[in-house]
């Protein structure tokens, strides 16, 4: 993970003598791209904000505990306060009652920030295609990495987080503003009107049976008449 592992052309080292980059008696500075250094620092000290609700949260805890040890990836500090966090890990089911909480926590996180949706429920609603469940948290917040599984194994979560690290490696400081353009004030406001929510949430999740027509009468329940008969 260190600097020295990087390919030589990305790491121009000033007057590096044979015998090591930072060996005794050598100049103790090196030149590099700002993007690279910032991304290197960012991706190796990601502080996750664990938004754990259900079964997946237990696997997230297992990933942080002794056997899997997330600390190896610079994530030993689970940041329970969103204001000091970089990655939101949404692990578990998110009912509509919890949706504004998730949205607010996301808004409270400072930029730059990333989101991982862990498990089938967070990503698409999973088996819970019912009246109380959000069908995929991408209707509430933007998501960077989806980790499939019910629940995903800790290895799966770690792989997802490594993909975030990979994503950060490719980021450009100059493009940052455009990548994460969003206006928190417009989204988490109470009683946003229907068009706004539709526009913000599009593409509307990744679950198949969602209609985008808003209105108190239309219900997609009628699409599957079988399910109406208990």
């Amino acid at each position: 993970m260190g600097l020295s592992e990087q390919p030589a052309e990305r790491l121009p080292v000033a007057s590096s003598p044979p015998g090591g980059v930072l060996g005794a008696g050598t100049p103790t500075f090196l030149t590099t791209r700002l993007d690279f250094v910032v991304n290197w620092a960012r991706r190796n000290s990601l502080w996750p904000m664990p938004f754990g609700t259900a079964c997946c949260a237990i696997e997230m805890m297992a990933a942080a505990a002794s056997n899997f040890d997330l600390a190896r990836f610079g994530m030993e500090r689970m940041s329970f306060s969103p204001r000091q966090a970089d990655v939101l890990i949404c692990a578990g089911r998110v009912p509509y009652k919890l949706a504004p909480v998730l949205r607010r926590i996301w808004d409270q996180m400072p930029q730059p920030k990333w989101a991982v949706s862990m498990g089938a429920c967070a990503s698409s609603g999973g088996v819970f295609d019912v009246y109380s469940m959000v069908q995929g948290i991408d209707t509430i917040i933007p998501v960077d990495v989806y980790v499939p599984g019910c629940p995903p194994r800790p290895e799966g979560l770690i792989y997802g987080l490594m993909m975030i690290q990979e994503k950060i490696r490719e980021e450009r400081l100059s493009e940052h503003g455009t990548l994460r353009a969003e206006d928190p004030a417009a989204v988490a406001r109470a009683r946003a009107d229907a068009e706004e929510v539709l526009a913000l949430s599009g593409p509307f999740g990744n679950s198949t049976r969602q209609n985008r027509v808003s209105g108190p009468t239309g219900s997609d329940a009628s699409d599957r008449p079988d399910d109406r008969i208990p």
């Binding site: 504004p100 009246y131 509430i140 109470a190 946003a192 229907a194 209609n211 209105g215 329940a221």
Partner: protein, 201 residues
């Protein structure tokens, strides 16, 4: 299987409150009682030295659909006598109200709130009858009723919109925690219950 001693004693004590009794699943005693006298009968079952059903295990309800009456089900267990009893009250759809038993068991408090939330049965005399699982401003009805579709009455987009427009600051102020007024079976206009706090943020 003959009726158990509990049912005999119950019939002797309340000859006109016991509607019928039956045995289910082999050995489970069920008694149907008059819904207007539920508190009285349950209190007797709780305190009578021969019965002592002192643990209220569960309060729930069953909707059979097709316009049949809803059943309120009380599961009782007697710790001293090691006996179980299931007491049921049938409520016609036109009058979904029954007396609360929170005065007899504190355990009934949340259980009755849950039944109110999911079935819309009103428990008269309950100290704090509010929705417990669904959001306070939930406007789609009572989910466990048979006429309620599995995915709710509104479209997903509408549900998301309503969810995001919930007022997070609800219950922050003491005056919001008190004096909620009489419970409504289905809030007629959900904006009336949630609109107040949204402007001041």
């Amino acid at each position: 299987m003959p009726a158990s001693t509990t049912v005999e004693a119950l019939r002797a004590a309340f000859p006109d409150a016991v509607v019928r009794d039956l045995v289910q699943s082999g050995d489970q005693q069920v008694v149907y009682i008059d819904p207007s006298r539920n508190a009285e009968v349950l209190d007797w079952l709780r305190t009578d030295p021969g019965e002592r059903f002192n643990l209220l295990v569960d309060v729930t309800a069953v909707d059979y659909g097709d316009g049949r009456p809803l059943e309120v089900v009380y599961q009782l267990w007697s710790i001293p006598h090691r006996r179980a009893l299931r007491v049921k009250c049938e409520l016609p759809l036109s009058r979904l109200a029954i007396a609360s038993v929170t005065a007899l068991w504190s355990a009934a408090n949340w259980l009755e709130r849950e039944v109110y939330d999911l079935f819309g049965i009103e428990f008269r005399g309950h100290p704090d009858l509010r929705r417990i699982l669904m959001p306070e401003n939930y406007a789609e009805g009572h989910p466990l009723r048979k006429d309620f579709p599995l995915r709710g009455r509104f479209s997903r987009a509408e549900q998301t919109r309503r969810a995001l427009s919930q007022d997070m600051e609800q219950y922050y102020m003491p005056d919001e925690m008190e004096g909620r007024g009489a419970p409504q079976l289905v809030p007629a206009d959900e904006s009336a219950t949630s609109g107040s706090g949204s402007q001041g943020r």
